[in-house]
């Protein structure tokens, strides 16, 4: 499940916005301008079912998102959705993986404490016996140049 963000979890000064997520979910987002740098040498891994609900994750995911494993498991992956991310990016992600192809892109993710972290994400369909049974995403540390490019580009895509 996804819940509204709570002021007591937020670190620092924040802004508010309400996002409409897939499946009729409305979420109150509280977000700050505080960036958590991506840790060197680590990969963030998660797997979802075909509708984008998290079914598997690793420790780095817990560490970077600020949520507990219990909060993340069975939650829609949009729990990380940051208001600065243009919806077309995720439309492209879903269109690509639905065709059975690999998607790669730079994503600004929202932490439980309202802060954010940038990743380079690769999402692939998990094909078992010829059928797509879910999706796996692996995030790695992005280059600063690419993050700067996306920080300029994304606001123009709304």
């Amino acid at each position: 499940m996804i819940y509204d963000m709570k002021p007591e979890h937020i670190i620092g000064e924040y802004q508010e916005v309400t996002l409409d997520l897939y499946g009729g979910i409305r979420r109150l987002i509280l977000y700050t301008q505080i960036e958590t740098p991506y840790p060197d040498g680590k990969l963030i891994v998660s797997t979802t079912d075909t509708s984008g609900v998290i079914t598997h994750l690793n420790k780095s995911f817990v560490e970077m998102s600020g949520y507990t494993e219990e909060e993340l498991l069975n939650a829609p992956h949009s729990i990380l959705r940051h208001p600065d991310m243009p919806p077309v990016a995720f439309k492209d992600l879903w269109d690509t993986v639905s065709r059975g192809e690999k998607w790669q892109g730079y994503v600004k993710n929202l932490r439980k404490d309202g802060g954010y972290y940038w990743v380079k994400a690769t999402v692939i369909p998990n094909v078992r016996n010829g059928k797509v049974v879910g999706y796996t995403s692996v995030r790695r540390k992005p280059s600063r140049t690419k993050v700067e490019e996306c920080s300029k580009l994304y606001p123009t895509l709304f």
Binding site: T47, K59, I124, R128, T136, R140, K141, K146
Partner: protein, 248 residues
Amino acid sequence: MPYILTVSPDFSPDHISGWYIFNTWLQKQIGEAIHLELYNSFQAQHEAIHLDKIDLIYANPFDAAMLVREKGFLPLVKAQGMSDEAIIAVNEASAIRDVTELSPGSRVAVTEDPDVRLMGMIMLEPADLTVDNVQIKVCDSYVLVAKQLLRGDADVGIFLAEAYDDLSNIIKKQLKILVQSQIGVIQHALLVGPRLAHRRDELRDTLLAMNVDEKGRDVLKNLSFDVWASIEDEDMEFMIDLMDTLNT
């Protein structure tokens, strides 16, 4: 004709005798003739794989994907508690203190190990380095990667973490680690090929019970780990998917 066992050519030279001892032990346990064939290059091993010569292989994760998806190999076991990790290092005297200070055109010393190279290149990406804008210098061993750095013939080196740890202290003192991966889920796997697949369950049970008797424990000690852990089909598929996401 005996079955053929082979080991990914990135095995540590310290373990050569360990693999021979392992093969002797295995033949006795399952009552089949198995010949251990060690190839000294990835290319030679790949040729043998394509000619369907191999029946058992301790494969690196990169090749495991191809073996399972294209050659019908099935997973058996992995060394428990071990994972393949990579280290990025430079000469101790280098002005570089962080990966992001490296620039395109850098000379990168590597070995042919495909998974280590992959993990290493991912750790160089934050500096906008890719295989297309660096100069790759392929070495025959990790000691030679280190020597390239010591001589100033390369700016940065990609090491298998285990191989880096095995370098002599004299060499290590002249190197500086920039990043060490902490991936945890990528590792070598023992796979069985189609000709021997009918004995898969028995092979797996035999291997999993290896640490129960003293002989088996000694054999494992020669390979530097304590016990095998089972790899289920889905574990294997997951690792292959993971390698797939990294391989872009």
